[in-house]
Amino acid sequence: MPPQPYATKLAGWGRFPVVDGLAVKSEDLPAATAPAALSRGLGRSYGDSSLPADKNDVIVDTTLADRILAFDPDCAVLRAEAGLSLSALNRALLRKGYFTPVSPGTQFVTLGGMVASDVHGKNHHVDGCFGRYVRRLKLRVADGRIVECSDEHEQELFRATIGGMGLTGHILEVEFTMRKIPSPWIFGESERIANLDAMVAALKEAAAEWPMTVGWLDCLARGENLGRGILMKGRWAEADEAPRKPPPAKRRFRVPVPFPNLALCRPNMKAFNLLYYWKHVRRVRRGIEHPASFFYPLDMLDDWNLIYGSRGFTQYQCVLPHAADNGPARRFLELFISGGGMAFLCVIKDCGAEGDGMLSFPRPGISIAMDFPIHPRKTQPFVDRLNELVIAEGGRIYLTKDTFTRAEHFRAMEPRLETFNAVRRKWDPQGRLRSAQSVRLLGDSV
């Protein structure tokens, strides 16, 4: 019996919006994807990227399709089903000296999601996005055929799928090159930074020396403190400086129920940001770190998205071009703060070269990401203003985080959109594949 779709409510990591749809969940992805409009993995995209456009659309939950199909330890090439999670991959191969070439800030993502969002990590300034390491994809396209695509075969489809938010087909299998690492431990260094100029300068300086960097910003600090924060740098520890034992499993905690909506009011956020900044008492700290606390500090707390209460939250992430005076990033932070924005998670990162993914997010510049709770009236106009600034500065936003951007704003930031749409029209002339996000941003019809 083929797996049966069932009615359910679906939401992304931000828990807004919550929509009705039909889900289907099975180990057998080829069977499950046959009637479906979209695939989703672990639902770690914040907004509506992984949500159905209509309550009768079938959405595949890929997470049971999680087998590793082949692995060559010599050249580190791995092929797996698209629902394999990064946490399962780490459990299987970290001890043996292999790690994903690019990792987002959580390990609860699937390979399919990593390809569809063309994720980037702390090493973007040197290593680019995940898509750079993908050799081949097995895809179920809109007309039902199963196609293998790569840079040698159906290149256009391949590049549209990398960063294509699931809109070109259902990814069934992913083949990519893992990274060999000298030990499963990290050697890290972190540093307190006084303001935005110093942060950008420190990121630039660290880029030459460290393969992994990221900054955390206290985004309630204003004036001369604007952009102050903590810069984290890391590299894989060499075998002779790392502990002999593999890193032990980390204890995890769970947020049991949604917090009251006021839990993240301004005074609490302010206290959190201050604490986080000053807890870093010594200006510089360095030493061996557990890879989980370096890459995935938030994963310690299961269901932490419940902290934002019943209304849910969103993340705004954009990349702004470099400028000698850091004008774009400064104006962005100033607008964010003066607009009443408050976030307890604000991340800054310098991006390297643009990848081959047709709609892939990163481009050279400064990326800033901030989480904030959704306000029923204020969030939409606030995001509109941020987007207007991003357009004026020549930047763009990250689809996998987005919930509120308007179609006309997205078009204004994305000169690459027409090429992407053309590939979609070619492979899916009837518009069978769609998401709530593609209806909102790309003009797909319901």
């Binding site: 099975s26 082949a70 459990r91 299987a92």
Partner: protein, 245 residues
């Protein structure tokens, strides 16, 4: 440990075989779809299985496949040691009431053929002085309940059989482990509304592996279900007629 698993391609069987592979057990897989067997075997090897994972076709709906499949396992592993059965069919009560072919297949697969398979295993294990037979039954077999009348009755028979085996043959070295899962989030239960104490396959696998190592005759997973079923078994009929659990 040398383990033969019938049903390792999906669900709890997949999770259990992975835990075994991770600690370096020697595995042999039985299932009815050859391609699925091969993919699962490679997955387990990459996750750490001690030796190449070999497979044989074994269809729960075709008892004539049992002997040859177990012969192959015995030959490859140089004797059986632990045999696990997770394979089974499932249908909701509505599906089974409406489709008597499906009901017939399910009843035969889950009871008659599973018992026949276990009998083959029993003879072979006793011949070499014992071993462990771990079979997944269900809490659905503990009491006649509205949502699982037909499925539950097949599991009730199976649980009974396993209990008897344990009573008769433990002294001869045959350890029987009867696993009674409550609601576990696998493909089998996708679309059913999960109760508050639904389990995850990997957590179930961890507990079942411990039960196999210790030879525990019966285990409820997640453990909460022991309590739940304890209450359910004691409810009077007039209550059972009323509730839909």
């Amino acid at each position: 440990m040398k383990v033969t698993v019938l049903g390792a391609t999906r669900g709890m069987g997949r999770a259990l075989a992975r835990r075994m592979a991770e600690r370096g057990d020697w595995l042999f897989l039985l299932e009815h779809v050859p391609d699925e067997l091969e993919c699962s075997a490679r997955d387990l090897e990459i996750r750490g299985a001690a030796r190449p994972v070999k497979t044989a076709v074994c269809d729960l709906l075709k008892p004539e496949t049992f002997g040859p499949a177990l012969d192959a396992a015995e030959k490859e592993l140089d004797g059986l040691e632990t045999v696990v059965v997770t394979a089974a069919l499932f249908g909701t009560q509505e599906q089974l009431e409406a489709d008597s072919d499906l009901a017939a297949r399910l009843l035969v697969a889950n009871y008659t053929n599973t018992v026949l398979f276990c009998e083959e295993v029993r003879r072979r294990l006793l011949r070499r002085g014992g071993g462990t037979l771990c079979v997944f039954s269900s809490v659905a077999g503990d009491r006649g309940r509205k949502p699982v009348i037909l499925y539950g009755s097949s599991k009730a028979g199976l649980s009974h059989y396993l209990e008897g085996l344990d009573h008769k043959f433990r002294a001869a070295g045959l350890k029987t482990v009867c696993v009674k899962p409550g609601f576990v989030k696998t493909g089998m239960t996708a679309g059913l509304k999960p109760p508050p104490f639904a389990g995850q396959p990997d957590d179930v696998a961890r507990r079942v592996l411990r039960a196999i190592d210790r030879g525990t005759p019966q285990i409820y997973v997640p453990p909460m279900w022991r309590l739940v079923m304890c209450v359910i078994r004691k409810l009077p009929r007039f209550v059972m007629r009323r509730i839909n659990f």
